[in-house]
Symmetry: C2
Subunit: 287 residues, 2 copies
């Protein structure tokens, strides 16, 4: 396992972590002040400054990307399925333009939450089938432009409204079905927040192997969790044994960034420099 204690060479910042503190230009400037070498920006942050300007800012700052957030939301009723397909192709194009190593895909939950305006359903099995169909279709497009797709299994607390892919096993089953030859174009983005509870997580990480491990995200699970979406913890403030999960990922040969992604009403209230200083300190001590 790599030693992170001496520097933050392998730390990436998911820009949602400080999305309330400034726009993408301000976040990139803050990263420069703190010697942060990689980011994972969100589509709406890129759209707000314009894609061309975002591409220039990333290049001029000498930043790498650890991913691009996010595509997916494959579940929709018939009237919204083309919209989902086209939207995902645009997201792939943006990721490519920005030089991202992969695009992070959140599957979508039930259609009424995944694509606004879709007819309501309680059929989660049907939603899961649609995700697999949508991924199969997007994989054809991703192959043309050579941009890897990273399925992010989300915690079961989000099964209804965000993602019906809820375990590493489930994500890898999809990978094996759609990409049996392990081309490197389909894999998983694993966030400790979503997977730490899973009794099968360590054997599933071993099953994934280096080919399928496209991104690794960190934050922490707080007790109590006051808000089901926006009360994620700074690493070290919760109950996740982060090092043991990173050790498992790196044992497979993963050598990429540890990306910090914290959705938190508390941390969004703090000055950006305080947030980034804390991220760096925790990256060195508890990640």
């Amino acid at each position: 396992m790599r030693d992170f204690s001496a520097d933050h060479r392998w730390m990436s910042l998911n820009t949602a972590t400080v999305r309330k503190q400034g726009d993408l230009a301000e976040i990139i400037e803050a990263c420069a002040r703190h010697g942060i070498r990689a980011i994972d920006p969100w589509r709406e942050q890129v759209a707000a400054v314009g894609l061309d300007r975002a591409v220039r800012m990333v290049r001029d700052a000498g930043l790498e990307l650890s991913g691009y957030c996010r595509g997916g939301m494959f579940v929709a009723d018939a009237a919204h399925r083309m919209q989902a397909r086209d939207d995902n192709r645009r997201a792939v194009d943006e990721a490519k333009a920005l030089g991202a190593p992969c695009i992070v895909l959140v599957a979508g939950g039930l259609p009424q939450y995944s694509r606004a305006g879709s007819a309501a359903s309680k059929d989660i099995a049907a939603a899961r089938a649609q995700v697999e169909d949508g991924l199969a279709e997007l994989l054809v497009y991703a192959r043309e432009v050579n941009l890897p797709l990273a399925i992010e299994p989300l915690h079961p607390a989000y099964a209804a409204d965000r993602a019906c892919v809820n375990t590493t096993k489930q994500a890898l089953d999809i990978c094996d079905a759609l990409d049996p030859k392990r081309t490197g174009l389909l894999g998983v983005a694993l966030d400790v927040y979503h997977i730490w509870w899973d009794p099968e997580v360590l054997p599933q990480i071993a099953r994934a192997g280096k080919d399928r491990l496209l991104a690794f995200h960190v934050c922490d699970w707080l007790v109590p969790t006051k808000d089901i979406l926006n009360d994620r913890g700074m690493m070290g403030d919760g109950v996740i044994d982060i090092k043991s999960i990173r050790a498992a990922v790196e044992a497979q040969g993963f050598a990429g960034y540890s990306e910090i992604e914290i959705f938190s009403n508390d941390w969004w209230e703090k000055p950006v420099d305080e947030v980034l200083r804390t991220c760096i300190e925790r990256h060195r001590s508890v990640v």
Copy 2:
């Protein structure tokens, strides 16, 4: 699948559903008013009126029990392990005295949350090993008094603070390890709230079979969920396809009560008769 539309013969009330509206005596009176024939009382409600009086009240009202809530919380540091063991034996004795068909067991999460005062740990694998050890020990006691133990897997959102047994598969793996002969003394209590998201839930229900299906609980998952513990929904108000899960359970031969257990700050504010009327109506229409 049984037809529930004509009456509420197979509805049971978990008394936590109206725990803010009155004590156990008042809840039992309310059940009588509404023709509810079974309850699952909580230990603290029984303790508040006294065990002997609770036994008499249940008998005098002609009530059946669908379970007794709850034992477990097996995870503790060394200093608190005997306390956990003795506490669980008392719970089994109480269940037996009340005529419960089983005791519902919530495994416990990390030791600092499972048994107050225990030293803190982030080792969920160790917690899981302790749960299995604690269950093995309690099973010996349960066998002596012939009282079945029902492991309730809890939603992964509770993995840290309430239960590190989070899937039906995990609970059944423990059952198979400790009770390979399927004596009927060890099984699962399945609550749709905790299991609905699980992509493996239907095959795991089939794996459980009638021998292991000791209790079936219903409520609903609301979107958004405002409170991670106390915002469960009335059946029909959320996203769970309850009938499909009941069909799977009954296909295995389960013929017991559908027990309504709703922890809800909203429903605790309403008059008990309104809550019970709604429970009965929804039991007939959406369960």
